[in-house]
Symmetry: C2
Subunit: 669 residues, 2 copies
Amino acid sequence: DVVKDVDENFITTFLSEVDNKEIEQNLRELTKVPHMATTEGDEQTVQFMLKRWKDSESGLDEAWREEYSVYLSFPDPKNPNKVTVVNASNAVLHTVREKEINYTSDQNDPNVVPPYAAYSPPGNIKGKLVYANYGRPNDYMLLNETMDLRGTVAITRYGGAGRAAKAINAAPYGVVGVLVYTDPYDINDGLMSDQNETYPHSWYLPPSGVERGSFNTLYGDLLTPYLAAKGIVQKWYSPSEITPIILKHVTFSSKITRIEFPALDGKMAPNDWQGSFPCPYNFGGPGFKAASTFKDSKVKVDIGNYDVVKNSSNVMGIIRGSVEPDRYVIYGNHRDSWVHGAIDPSSGTSVMLEISRVLGRMVKQGKWRPRRSIIFGSWGAEEFGLIGSAEYTEQYFTKLSERTVAYINVDIAVNAPGFESTSVYDNWIKYTNKTSPTHGVIPRFLEVTTLRLSITSGSLLWTCPTRTIGARIYPAYHTAYDTFDYASKYIDPGFTSHQAVARTAGNVLLRLADSLLLPLSCGDYAETLEDYLKEAVMQYEEQLKAKDLSMEPIKLAVSSFRRAASHLEEVIKNSDLKNEPLKVRMINDQLMLLDRAFLDPLAFPDKYAFRHVIWTSSSAGKPTFPGLADAFAKAASSGQQSDWDKVHYHLSILTQAIEGAAHTLTSTF
Amino acid sequence: DVVKDVDENFITTFLSEVDNKEIEQNLRELTKVPHMATTEGDEQTVQFMLKRWKDSESGLDEAWREEYSVYLSFPDPKNPNKVTVVNASNAVLHTVREKEINYTSDQNDPNVVPPYAAYSPPGNIKGKLVYANYGRPNDYMLLNETMDLRGTVAITRYGGAGRAAKAINAAPYGVVGVLVYTDPYDINDGLMSDQNETYPHSWYLPPSGVERGSFNTLYGDLLTPYLAAKGIVQKWYSPSEITPIILKHVTFSSKITRIEFPALDGKMAPNDWQGSFPCPYNFGGPGFKAASTFKDSKVKVDIGNYDVVKNSSNVMGIIRGSVEPDRYVIYGNHRDSWVHGAIDPSSGTSVMLEISRVLGRMVKQGKWRPRRSIIFGSWGAEEFGLIGSAEYTEQYFTKLSERTVAYINVDIAVNAPGFESTSVYDNWIKYTNKTSPTHGVIPRFLEVTTLRLSITSGSLLWTCPTRTIGARIYPAYHTAYDTFDYASKYIDPGFTSHQAVARTAGNVLLRLADSLLLPLSCGDYAETLEDYLKEAVMQYEEQLKAKDLSMEPIKLAVSSFRRAASHLEEVIKNSDLKNEPLKVRMINDQLMLLDRAFLDPLAFPDKYAFRHVIWTSSSAGKPTFPGLADAFAKAASSGQQSDWDKVHYHLSILTQAIEGAAHTLTSTF
Ligand SMILES: [Ca+2]
Ligand SMILES: [Ca+2]
Ligand SMILES: [Zn+2]
Ligand SMILES: [Zn+2]
Ligand SMILES: [Zn+2]
Ligand SMILES: [Zn+2]
């Protein structure tokens, strides 16, 4: 029936069938061995996904794998990465621990990749140690005012700046190597002892734990920007966005962080430089403190990383739509991990498999078929820079652009224990800070993430409010402690949080796939534009007037958009949708494609692949139009006319993008 | 009825109602006075179009005007453009005629703009005259081998190279000014006398006639690339693509072409430098021939052109579709002329008005409404660089991209007398040289023109086969002789050719607007890709192999495309379209959007707005993929690795664009 709406009874059935024990079992299977991208463990997960999705009782219509040849980076077992302390005669005084301590035998699995900074170039350097806080631009700048940084090795802590940024920000000062550690302040509420404070006794990071990660700045396969990494002919590009200095992790238990910290000498650093070690963090060095056993010694960093092109697989599955098979709702999760990846990403994979099991069963039993096609995407090589999903979008760019209603991403499903017993909805209401004139307080669930395709997207995650704990992420993130044991003991015993996520994500998925009229509100979009405009006017209008730049056109554009959105909402209200399937299709096209009007491939020449003029990333930190905000910050700082011209440019493209979007919502001409 | 197909009886009725006398009367009205863009005459044509399209008996559903503030160039009546010959003491020996001779009183209309090169910069230069053939790169290069071109004024003839190119190609040699004339060889079958050979006695160009034109290289409003020229904020760009040297026309009757031609001295130039003057064309000069009364004199060129931003209007009209109002068939014609513009463009305007009259009447009488919306576009400021239509597409970019089934353009409707009495179809068959394995000999009617939006487009024009006459265009083109008198005496007495064009264009329009299934064949598209591939393999495969570049992936891509096209054709054959309106919509979306898959905004960074990887313009002159052809020509010439990398790049993006397009034709995943 082409005008059937979503069936609330079916959703209720779906919710009741989502089984926490199934999710637990999924997780157990997925985390038996480490499954880093392109390893044998990863291939096993590919087979596992295919088996589930091809199951005769609860599988999907079709499942298959898609391979890409992607540029990865690994440590060399024959030439392992090392951090040592060497004295003037090059005698090794100390070797930093290379491996996380084993507590549960998981950490001893031979396939646990030693902690390493992926995409750090290989090399051998030596230098005096300095502490550089989070490695943000200001941190190095401040440090550089008190000492000569040339030839030094900077030790930084996770947080505050992206991984690669800690090296990129250091390079101009002549720093030759960067170390990264996790300060217990940032992740552990200050706790440090594995005797009774950290894992295996709690969820906190043990002293030898190391957060692995990818240290590049682009996403997607580095060799093939804008093209799918397949076939003979595509690899032609020399990767240039890899970090300029070698990088390595150290643990917070290491002597060179805990005991011989150079920061123990010298002038005291500001408050936001302090961590949890029981001592002040100062602008010490370069080099170890005067009283140290390592005084006059240098830190030596030897990196044997090698780059290699390997085949990474995405696993895809589909339930074809009965009425509009050419309209896609895509649900994605990455499958690859750094080590066992229990929380990241297998908590999400477990949830995805449970959703697909319940829905698959309904389809196989002939009880249901969605109106629109549901596509499940199990992405590979995400940890190396969102590679699997990026290549997928590059390969199917046009088709996805034209037909995708929405994309739901669930990477980590649950990363914190539940603290309260409120409903999901009430919980959201409590912790959000957004108030809508139309709706009152609303949860910021559906953050529209910026994709090059400009498809309405949402991300779902059960997490801790950051006011409760200081951590930016769960403590075992990317370490050898992110295991089934950890997840089942300290994150979600009973897996009922996972179940809640599966129900919620599935609920959204079903409404997107089955609602006659797409549940996308252009009035809400207008509200966001109005909020952004209000902020922009407040921040910029006066100074722009002084430069002869008027904001009247963009105000008019936002009003036009609001009028057009209201008009479409009136049309919807006055339409007899149940009797006009073509009209439904027409309106749904308008709703689905609304975001595409904001794409401008020329708007951000310095950003790789970012094209959406409303949702592109911004460094200005203001809740307003990103291109305008960044251009304004630059012009206000430089004062140059060419930079004010760029502000004018961004005002222009924004204005016309908003008007263009409004035109798609009005009646045909 | 949502599954009704096009009504052949209705088309027959339409064909029979198209009236040649109505077309004649339209032309009479439109050509009463000159109507150059943004003049009072142009405003009168705006009012005329609005009146017709708002007529209560034969108008459209709605008609309106859209204004843009565009950057134009005009001669200054207070400082008219002049070409003179001056001797060493600066005495004026000769002044080139500034105005076309009056034969019918039309040429004496005060609003006839004097011949001028639009967008030539103002200036005053003086130099020795040289003849530079068509002003192509090779022409200047060859000339430069025999003489020093610095400080010279080059006289070139129309043809062979674009208008602006004649100056752009000259600039590197130090040429200070360029004159352009029409050689009787290129336009007049050598004829020159207005006593009995040319107009007013025939259609040939009289001696004082001058082809006006725009001498810039971009299209659209020069100040607002990629943005609509509206509102306060958009004008921020400094036009840079205007010609580097001042330009002026001279007539072929002028002394400095006919009698004192510098080319009369010196070594004889090659065959393709010869024209129709009764003398050899030599590599003479710089300066007039030794025996000339002008010997030792220079040519002085004074240009008073000024640039100005003025409001230009498009007039739009719509007949809304009854079933799919959000699907557009757009029919366009530009309305502005250089002078009276009888053939260019008013022959087309007259035809468009007749089509809209017949269809409008049917709608007003409640006898018919198209399935899809028909939009008529009467573009302004085309003569200055396709400005009106370009701004329109920039303003409504997203909406047009997503919803336009096809664009039909009829600029000049008829530009030559009919020589034979065959049917339109047989006539096409006879003069085409394309043979299709599927269809046999087919007329190349629907040339897909390259637009930034990648909308299927076609251009329609009744013309002379170039084998019959040597002219590249009808002789009175862009002159003060393109009048009603000219059109009705020498191009289409009786206006039956115009009628045939109106019937043919209307026929196509109706089939696009009313057919249940869009009459667009993806199998034909596959055939073109196969032709292009065959040529590319023949031209390039061996040399590419030598550079380690394989054509196997692109061969696979074209095969995939063919398979996908065949698959869709099977689906169509096996579908019960009359009972599945949503399926019809789905398939029509695939057909309509097929071209969009070939858009790549990063593919041609040196070309303004060209994005279609199959149909973009090419300078290599080969019937194959343009980006590949141009990249190959460059690499083969330079031999540089970076140029071969660009060939690799074009092979890659082509391959993936073709694969991506194929994906849109297959079943959903
Ligand atoms: Ca890629
Ligand atoms: Ca423009
Ligand atoms: Zn993850
Ligand atoms: Zn991760
Ligand atoms: Zn024209
Ligand atoms: Zn013209």
